[in-house]
Every structure is written in structure tokens, then in C-alpha cells.
Assembly symmetry: C2
Homo-oligomer: 238 residues x 2
Amino acid sequence: MKVYVDRMSQPSRAILIFCKVNGIEFEEVRIDIFKGQHRSPQFKEINPLGLVPAIDDGRIKLFESHAILRYLACAFPGVPDHWYPADDINRAKINSILDWHHSNLRFGSVSLFRNSILALVFGFPVNQEAANKGEKLLCSSLSTIESIWLKGDAKFLLGNNQPSIADLSLVCEIMQLEEKLDIFFLSQLLNEKDRLRIMGPHKKISQWVENFKAATSPHFEQVHEILYKAKAKFHAKL
Amino acid sequence: MKVYVDRMSQPSRAILIFCKVNGIEFEEVRIDIFKGQHRSPQFKEINPLGLVPAIDDGRIKLFESHAILRYLACAFPGVPDHWYPADDINRAKINSILDWHHSNLRFGSVSLFRNSILALVFGFPVNQEAANKGEKLLCSSLSTIESIWLKGDAKFLLGNNQPSIADLSLVCEIMQLEEKLDIFFLSQLLNEKDRLRIMGPHKKISQWVENFKAATSPHFEQVHEILYKAKAKFHAKL
């Protein structure tokens, strides 16, 4: 199986972690977004929409990270059931979180930064109204995760003691968010107060991320090294 | 099973149509969004996020329309396989379209109108930049559906001769879009040129919607009656 990814993208990292943790054999094909490789005619043969991640296992060419995770969990024997339970009820709850993710945690995070700091950095017009809406959605999404799906003392979403593909997708999103907040803070595009306003009050989220790292060690940290390196490089520059 | 819906919402209609077409017994519980019933404590017991559609079959309380459709297709015996095939490959392709839908067709449609005409109607500030981006995304989404998933002469998405839950979800979205375009046109908030620019060039989409109506008759039209009535009422007023 070929797995087409850019490790700077959070859904790409989710696919890599899933394959490594579950011993699924694959070849990683790097599609460098900054170099525009996702728009090449060769890659459009794999995903006509030109987005990573995508896979090609000889049976199917597939894109959209949640669809890929569902497929891998079902099509590869040996993936433990907790990732995407065969039972209708538990599977439905995981699907509900995955569907919610698109228009909430992901969308809030993307629209906050795309309309504020990233616009500044790349020279696009800042849209403060859209950025404010993004921040509001992002913060309410983090609260929703804590109050609904991390309610109680369980280690993972939905009161589970082992992670699912919903934990994987959402934790990778939060890693990206924390990284952005750190880099923007280091570069003085964001002050401590603003950073704390977004991530500060969410202790349960931080514990959950740590639980997930421990459950998928050492693969989680290895796949995220690119983020840590980007931050260190940035720090050194300053 | 109780099905909590507001028929003015496109994902609500998708759930109703699915149940009716497949002979799934249910009780329809109307949650009137305009009256704020989705924010009532009683409904928050069903869906803590306060959104329709949601279901409660005694085994699970579930929200997010795509998760509900997947669950119904799997948990209720007798639903024909074409709606959500058991085969990994075909199921994965349908999941890919459903996941894509969130951030493309739906998001484009919602952000076009919420930032332009609906803002005008409800007295919110118009955000022309966001509306333009929404229109661009909406139009490219319609083109993607035609060029990728309706390629060839098949009646439904992915070259299929029978519909899936992806056809159902996307067609209901397009019905909502057409309805909005018609009402805004009738109320002179939109001119013929603008209306044609969005829906005009997509002949394959129109044929596909007709195919879907025929395949799910008479339930599709019955559940959509509320839209037709809203339009007729509006027309009469003018």
C-alpha cells in the first residue's frame, strides 16, 4: 500500500500513526504541499481533488482521512476492535464524533488562524470577524469534548479505556493547534494571554492527549517529530 | 424509534426519507428550530449539542446525520445493501464522499447564504468576502460531483445504478440550495443572472436529482412538501 502524505498535515499524521501502531505495511510517499506537489498531474491520478492524505493499496485509491481510517480498520485483519468497533452501537458513537469534527474542532481551528495570523504571515487580508467566530467555535468545541465525550474518569473519548479512530483524529488536530499557538507565541504574533485564553482552561484535554501519546508510543512521537523540529528551528532563529 | 427532526433542515429530511423508503418504523418528533425547541432541556437530553436530526431507539441516542444514516443502514435488517454496501471497497468510497460533503458542498452553500442574503434578511452584517468564498466553494463542489462521481452515464454517484446514503445526503443538500435560490429570486434578493451562475451550468446534477426522486418516490416528494409549500406561500405573498 502506498500512503501519500505531508507530515505537516494533521490528517496525514493520523494515517501514518494508525498504520504504524497496527503493523500495517506501507510505503510512505511524501507529497510536499509547500512545493505544490499535491497539484501535480501524477498525484491527481491518485486523488483528483489534489489533497493529502490519500492511499492506494491496489484495490482502491481513497482520500478523506476519516474514510481512510475506517477502511484500514475494517480491511486489514489484526487491527484491534477498539479502534473502530464492529458493534453497531459503539461504531455509531465514534462515527458521530468523526462527523462532528469536520464542522467544529477542525473548522474552528482552521478559520481562526487562516483569517488572522496566517493571513498576516502570508500577506492576505485579515478578517477579524471570521477569526473571532473561528475562535469562538474552537473554544466551544474544546468544551464540548471535555463535557460530553471526556465526562468521567476514562482515559479516552466515550468513557473508553482504549483509543478509537476518533481519539486519533481529534488528538492530531489538537497537536497541530498547540504547535501553532506555540510558534505564534514565540514569534510574538500572539501574547501569553491570548494563548492561555484558547488552550489554558482545558486540563482534561491535556490529560487525554497525554493518554493517547502513551497508548501509541513510540509511533506518535516519531510521526510528530516534524512539528517539534519546526518549532525548535523557529526558536533557534529568534 | 423516535426521530427528532425539523423538516426545514436538509439532514432531517434525509433521515425521514431513508426510514420511509426502507420501511423502518419510527415516530417523528418535531423540533421547531424557529421556535428554539432545539435549545430546550428536554431535547438536550437527547442531543446535548441541541441540533437536529437526532434519534433514540432505546439502544442509542445518536446525532450527526451521516452517523445516523450509517447506523440505520447497518442496524435495521432489510435495508438493501446498495444504500451502504457491506463490501469494504464500495463502503469506503461512499464514506469518502460523505466526509468530503461537510467541508465542501454543505459548507460552501451555508457560507454563501449566511454571509449574504440571509444576513440581509435577519439584519446581520453582510460579509461579502466570505460570501464570495462560499460561492466559489459551492460552484467548485458542484463541478467536482459532476466530473468525478457522476462521470459516465450511471444514474447515481460512483457509477452506481442504485442510490447510496451519499446520494441521499447530497441530493437533500441540493434541494435546499435550489429552494433558497428560488425564494431569493422570487423576492428579488437575487437576479436571474446570479441564480444561473450558480445552478445553471450543472445539467448532470439536475438529472441526478431527478433520478433520485424517481428511485425514492413517493417519499422524497412527500418529505419535501414543506419546501414546496414555503415557496408557494412566499409566491402568494408577493
